[in-house]
Symmetry: C2
């Protein structure tokens, strides 16, 4: 007993638990996660976005130039040799650096997708991760970029979430020029960053709290009333656009924002997104500074508590910190790690089998020729197939397939080889068929 305890303690000196704030999944969840990630990637590629992959480690100066505030505190930074290094906190800053560096080698508009992990050393709390996947697309222009791209983005979002099948969703759209123009017309453009950060929280904290925060941020009372009058405009897209016209704001930025929003909204329809899947929502401002025009958020109608599942927008100048070139762009991001965890908690998605294998070949003889021939035939038809190689009892072999959730088992013994017919067993229904090698694959679904 003492010996056992000693051994136990020795082994437990090393903590093998995953670090707090990091996601690590069991196979049944990993397979589900990867399937969702794969669907997003497929849709991105269908829309003509191509893959980009940049290092997870950047020069600290590159990240610090773009971070600031909360984000800067969350950066994982370290040094190695002469270099001050840091882990990327998003995929937009690396894109900005990449495009600046390779501006003469790449073709514009530059349509890339990037699905990879990013790092933020946040205080761990439910739904917050320190390492998480972002699934981004961006379209970058050199000098200019047509507003039609702002209209195409919702059709990508629409296709992604239609395919994923998480239920009804709405893409909420606004244009930042409206609120910045409005604030200018009120003479408080200097407060616009604060005001946008505050009103962005309205869905979470409610009107009263927002009012208090605006007062604290020194926004005059009459301006607060006008801001609420603006963000509370509701109705159909046409009704909202009319109401915005009727506000009669005499500010060029506001007028431009309204004209842009009209064009984007009318083009979204032409680009085939159903009416129930997008709507103007003037309370959408996005926390991040760099958006300058169209902004998007996407919410699941039946799960509003999840918040935005896909957000993004238009920015005038992707890489002003790194290059003199004007590089306008528009893009979106899906924070997949957090989304996955919330969808699991809400019961929207459920883990399935513990393997991607469809077939388990169980040889009851030592000659592997026939088992291999069957496995190779199935594999060449893209049916993931495993041969059971351990020397166990029959019961344990079938139990392995059951535990993993492998849907089909093929038994191969002397008799089967003589007859040239092999037993294909459907592990769910229990149904068993005697089939020739050629017949097997067409009986697997």
């Amino acid at each position: 007993m003492l010996k056992y305890l000693n051994t136990f303690n020795m082994k437990n000196e090393i903590n093998t638990k995953v670090l707090p704030g990091f996601m690590e999944l069991l196979p049944e969840d990993q397979i589900l996660f990867d399937r969702i990630k794969g669907t997003i990637q497929t849709v991105y590629e269908q829309f003509g976005f191509f893959p980009l992959d940049t290092p997870a480690i950047e020069r600290a100066e590159v990240l610090m130039a773009k971070a600031g505030g909360e984000t800067e505190k969350q950066i994982y930074s370290f040094s190695k040799g002469d270099n001050q290094l840091a882990l990327r906190f998003d995929l937009t800053v690396p894109l900005a650096r990449y495009v600046s560096e390779h501006v003469n080698e790449i073709t514009f508009p530059f349509r890339r997708y990037h699905i990879a992990k990013v790092y933020r050393g946040e205080s761990p709390q439910k739904g917050r991760y320190r390492e998480f996947y972002q699934c981004d697309i961006d379209i970058i222009g050199n000098g200019s970029l047509s507003l039609m791209n702002d209209a195409e983005i919702p059709s990508v979002i629409y296709t992604v979430f239609s395919k994923l099948g998480f239920g009804q969703f709405v893409i909420k759209i606004s244009n930042r020029k409206l609120i910045t123009g409005l604030l200018s017309s009120l003479g408080i453009e200097n407060l616009s960053v604060d005001v946008m950060r505050i009103i962005d929280k309205i869905d979470k904290v409610g009107k009263e709290a927002i009012t208090e925060m605006l007062v604290e941020a020194s926004v005059p009372t009459d301006a607060i009333l006008t801001i609420f009058k603006f963000i509370e405009i509701k109705g159909s897209n046409n009704e909202v656009l009319s109401a915005l016209d009727e506000l009669n704001i005499d500010n060029d930025n506001f007028k431009q924002g309204l004209a842009d929003l009209k064009e984007v909204i009318s083009s979204i329809e032409k680009l085939g997104v159903p009416n129930e899947n997008y709507q103007i929502d003037l309370s959408i401002a996005r926390g991040l500074d760099y958006y300058t025009g169209t902004v998007y958020e996407t919410t699941l109608v039946d799960y509003p508590q999840i918040g935005s599942i896909c957000s993004g927008g238009r920015y005038d100048n992707l890489a002003e910190k790194y290059t003199d070139k004007k590089l306008p762009g528009v893009g979106i991001s899906i924070g997949l790690t957090r989304l996955f965890s919330q969808l699991k908690d809400a019961g929207v998605i459920k883990s399935g089998p513990k393997t991607t294998s469809k077939v388990l070949v169980i040889p009851l003889i030592s000659d592997m020729s026939i088992p291999l021939q069957i496995a190779t035939t199935l594999r060449s038809q893209n049916i993931p197939t495993e041969i059971y190689l351990e020397d166990e009892k029959m019961k344990d072999k079938l139990s392995y397939a059951n535990k993993l959730g492998i849907p089909y088992v093929i038994l191969i013994g002397e008799d089967e080889i003589k007859a040239g017919k092999y037993a294909l067993k459907n592990m769910l229904s229990g149904e068993q068929k005697e089939l020739s090698i050629e017949e097997i694959s067409s009986n697997i679904y």
Copy 2:
């Protein structure tokens, strides 16, 4: 001029070059890289391996327990809050930690693949990367694992490299028990780690240098002669096995190694790997300590300078540092980043188009209904399709397709819409066909 210089300097305060030792690709190479990575993943899944994804950041104590020597110096480590953290230097240590932590939740044999980046702060030199992809498979048993798994691994390697088409390759196989048994029989088992590290370099530095190193490592002269007699055994697999029999080494470890090697070699044939694609090579020892049985290396026949493109082996105890459970396993790893760079340099692979898009739809009218209908039809058939949205001259639109290497362009103007026939232009051959929407997809290859 002065103003220009000032601006130039200001922008250049931030270094946007990728860090030395990190790979960053242009789209034409990234697409090629991802295609290779995708093929490896597909084959791994066909053989019934399922995906695993662990954090890139581990507790420093977890990595340090397994690192040691050169590797330890190369670890990127840092602290955040109370935690001493480090970036993983391979995918095997995280697997060991994962399996230890989840040993009661997972099913054995545990067949996972993991394709992800790992980090080693090596001195930058040609062909060495500080961030690189490893593409690993491992099969882990709980308590025991059949030797048949050692024989299945070469059939995975064979399928991967047959599909990748990098030319003729040979999987070299040995068993570590042979050399450790031989050294025991010579009374120098205490030198076995050194000896294996040294003879592993024979392909790179030659016999003379190896002899010197062995002398320096205090290996007696007669032992050196025996070691060479052993590693220089050449011939067909049967010839090598006979020669090993004839050595008549009276050591249990050696005898076990020989018996295991015989079984693995005869099973590989039954598992369908052609004779010319595998051979016993007794100079294969693998630098890493943890291998205890079968070891593999794979080389391209026409590019021996590239060295091993896929290596691995059997280990008795995956996670002895973390758990009391005996977890034997066998696995391989492809170091894809280095391999990609070397294959490019050698001209084995060549970059292709700069996008994954197959079709560019060019609307010559403002109504997007028909362009969208065509794009949606093609996308739903998994043909990546882009709509050209910028307001440019016709010449520039076609030039965009040409620059990116998009193989097909569809032109849609008033006349085409009236006729219900659209011009599908093959950008390579110049051929143009007038087709209905339904006919388009079957004309794209």
